[in-house]
């Protein structure tokens, strides 16, 4: 229990709490059920992608093609949805097709990273540029609204349980699922293991390539789910809607305490990272901060958070390095 209090998650949780207290003083609206659910709903897509990215980053990789993959799935889904009948089967079908396409694209990244051993950032930079080009070529940026989608889709998108949107539920399910995966499944432990020590993991009989393909595939899978979420959120296909989104995803993950060199990262941390970004976006308008200053504030908070975290980390390391000196 003690270790939890000292963990990285704690410091970001602290920042969130402080920010929330300040914001609720400034704006009474902040701490309302409606606002909180709006924040969660608005960041569900970010959250789902960030969770996939957490696994990738734990293994020491990175995937900058997430936004492109998600958009690709959205575009394909949009094209398919038009032909689907107005029946629940369509929703089921959507939940089969979207993750499937995502997995295929993600596994492609995984294959290149593991088999050809190209650094992940480079592979995904390449696939990002290719996928973006293909999307643009095919769609020509065509915006598609929900009028042509089956009615059931709109119903699905607006679905709520006790006032909680299906998007938040989706996000929650994914979070819990990924948490379970990391904590309670063999592959999840292997993800942490190869991030912790590549050499040892091979000696321990862990199939390094398999795990890598898995994490990128899983990232793709979540990109597929995120595509459904984004589509439900905007109820429209906007091929440009996620341009540059990968940076936010990565920012959320690293803010959540995952180590970009691998080995460290938790679902709860990432969740907090997403929350922090969401609250900042939301709070700046609520706090009536001049629009032009908003980016300055966000940048400064990111710098403060990472600096603070690093100083903490150094301190704990120094403590560990101490030896007993006779008085």
């Amino acid at each position: 229990m003690k270790s939890i209090l000292k963990s990285k998650e704690m410091s970001i949780a602290l920042i969130i709490v402080m920010l929330s207290i300040v914001l609720s003083f400034i704006s009474p609206v902040f701490f309302t059920f409606e606002n909180i659910t709006d924040i969660l709903k608005g960041n569900a897509v970010l959250g789902i992608l960030a969770i996939g990215m957490t696994l990738v980053i734990i293994t020491g990789g990175i995937d900058v093609s997430v936004a492109a993959v998600t958009t690709a799935v959205i575009v394909i889904l949009g094209k398919i949805l038009v032909f689907l009948p107005d029946s629940p089967i369509s929703i089921v079908l959507m939940f089969i097709i979207a993750p499937l396409i995502g997995v295929i694209l993600g596994a492609l990244n995984g294959m290149l990273v593991s088999k050809i051993q190209i650094p992940a950032i480079v592979v995904t930079l390449g696939t990002m540029s290719m996928i973006n080009g293909i999307i643009l070529y095919i769609t020509n940026g065509q915006y598609l609204n929900s009028t042509s989608f089956p009615k059931i889709f709109v119903k699905f998108a607006n679905f709520e349980i006790f006032g909680i949107s299906i998007l938040i539920i989706l996000f929650a399910l994914i979070s819990i699922g990924a948490w379970y995966l990391l904590k309670y499944t063999v592959i999840g432990r292997e993800v942490l293991a190869i991030g912790g020590n590549k050499e040892s993991s091979i000696r321990a009989g862990i199939n390094f390539d398999k795990v890598q393909i898995f994490v990128y595939g899983f990232m793709g899978l979540l990109a597929g789910v995120a595509a459904i979420a984004q589509l439900s959120y905007t109820k429209a296909v906007d091929p440009n809607g996620l341009l540059g989104f990968e940076m936010q995803v990565i920012a959320a993950v690293v803010l959540g305490g995952a180590n970009i060199m691998g080995g460290r990262g938790t679902i709860i941390g990432t969740f907090l990272g997403v929350l922090l970004l969401g609250i900042m976006q939301n709070g700046l308008i609520l706090a009536h901060i001049d629009v032009f200053w908003q980016k300055v504030v966000v940048g400064a908070i990111i710098l403060l958070a990472v600096t603070f975290d690093q100083i903490q980390y150094k301190r704990s390391k120094d403590k560990l390095a101490k030896i007993e000196v006779e008085a």
């Binding site: 704006s27 609206v29 309302t32 409606e34 606002n35 709006d38 608005g42 897509v45 643009l136 769609t139 020509n140 940026g141 065509q142 915006y143 609204n145 929900s146 009028t147 607006n158 984004q230 959120y233 905007t234 109820k235 429209a236 906007d238 091929p239 440009n240 809607g241 996620l242 341009l243 976006q281 939301n282 308008i285 609520l286 009536h288 001049d290 629009v291 032009f292």
Partner: protein, 345 residues
């Protein structure tokens, strides 16, 4: 040292290779322009450069431009950067100069940024005009405006007041990007109208950027509604922002409380117009603008300047300002739930 020398040498070689090309080819280029194009197909080459390609608005313009090309028997090259970045746009234009087109019509991402390259185009004997968004007026031969910017902004303010049904209360402005010049000039027009005629309306915040993304506009609108519970109206500039804003209104069921006027395309707005979340979309018909641009470009290449009140086929009557080169396509079109279905963009 050897390696460094090698490196420098190879750079020199590379440059030399290219430079060598310069001398060997400069002869042909200088004699060229009109004749060379003519002997290929005899058709005029008209390049239409949007701010970026791959967004609905400019796709709609493309349709009109291409159609005009077919109708008028000219080659239309519709190409632009993939991001609304002035630097990229300059490169596109530079490449077009290399392609030796006859006319370049550009919707500048940044007025000042394009001035040098447009001058270069002119020096190469290419006719230069702007469309959609004004370029530096000293370099263009013709300036095609869909609309008078200030009048458009004022029109949006007036329409908002009309839809709100009151001249008192809080309103907000959403915009695509803080650095979009044409959006900014419309917003300036709208603000002028507010200041001069509607002192009762209070702008709650400076223009709010939505990054040309629907989810961002949606989120920011939600935040707006929450922080300003008395908000009565929203002006949403850019083709995407109104959709996000309307979506927020729709989902919160505030159709009757908050009026939204958007500067967007009818087809995308239909669900929101029908629902009442979006009260009015005000824009022009971008395909007509594309058509008009090409039509006037052809005339320009043939040495004809437009006349005030001139009737352009498939577009309608145009207005030409006193300077003789500023063309206004016409008044904006109000898209309502009744007529929105009639348009294919």
């Amino acid at each position: 040292m050897k390696k460094l020398l090698g490196a420098i040498l190879s750079v020199v070689l590379m440059v030399g290779l290219l430079a060598g090309c310069v001398s060997s080819n400069s002869g042909t280029t200088s004699k060229a322009n009109g004749s060379e194009n003519a002997d290929k197909s005899g058709k005029l080459k008209i390049a239409v450069v949007p701010k970026l390609i791959g967004i609905p608005y400019f796709n709609a313009s493309e349709k009109g431009a291409v159609q005009a090309g077919k109708d008028l028997g000219v080659d239309v090259i519709y190409t632009g950067p993939t991001e609304a970045d002035a630097a990229q746009q300059v490169k596109v234009i530079e490449d077009l100069i290399s392609q030796k087109v006859d006319v370049i019509a550009v919707a500048p991402n940044d007025q000042a940024a394009l001035t040098p390259v447009l001058k270069k185009a002119k020096d190469a004997g290419i006719k230069v005009m702007d469309w959609d968004t004004p370029a530096d007026q000293s370099v263009v031969d013709l300036s095609v405006h869909q609309i008078d910017d200030e009048a458009y902004g004022r029109h949006i303010t007036k329409s908002l007041v009309e839809q709100m049904g009151t001249e008192k209360g809080e309103i907000a402005i959403l915009t695509g990007g803080l650095s979009a010049a044409n959006l900014n000039s419309w917003i300036d027009g709208a603000k002028k109208e507010l200041e001069e005629n509607y002192p009762g309306l209070k702008l709650v915040s400076d223009k709010i950027a939505t990054d040309e993304k629907q989810p961002v506009a949606y989120q920011k609108t939600l935040d707006l509604i929450k922080s300003y519970p008395d908000l009565k109206g929203i002006m949403a500039f850019s083709t995407i922002a109104p959709l996000g804003a309307a979506q927020a209104i729709q989902e919160k069921g505030l159709q009757d409380k908050i009026a939204i006027i958007g500067a967007n395309l009818p087809k995308d707005s239909i669900p929101f117009l029908e629902d009442g979340a979006l009260d009015l979309a005000i824009l022009w018909e971008p395909d007509k603008l594309g058509y008009l641009t090409v039509a006037l470009a052809k005339d320009l290449a043939e040495g004809k300047m437009p006349q005030d009140g001139q009737e352009v086929k498939n577009v309608g009557k145009i207005e030409v300002w006193e300077d003789g080169k500023t063309v206004i396509m016409g008044p904006p079109t109000d898209f309502t739930k009744e007529n929105a279905g009639n348009y294919d963009f």
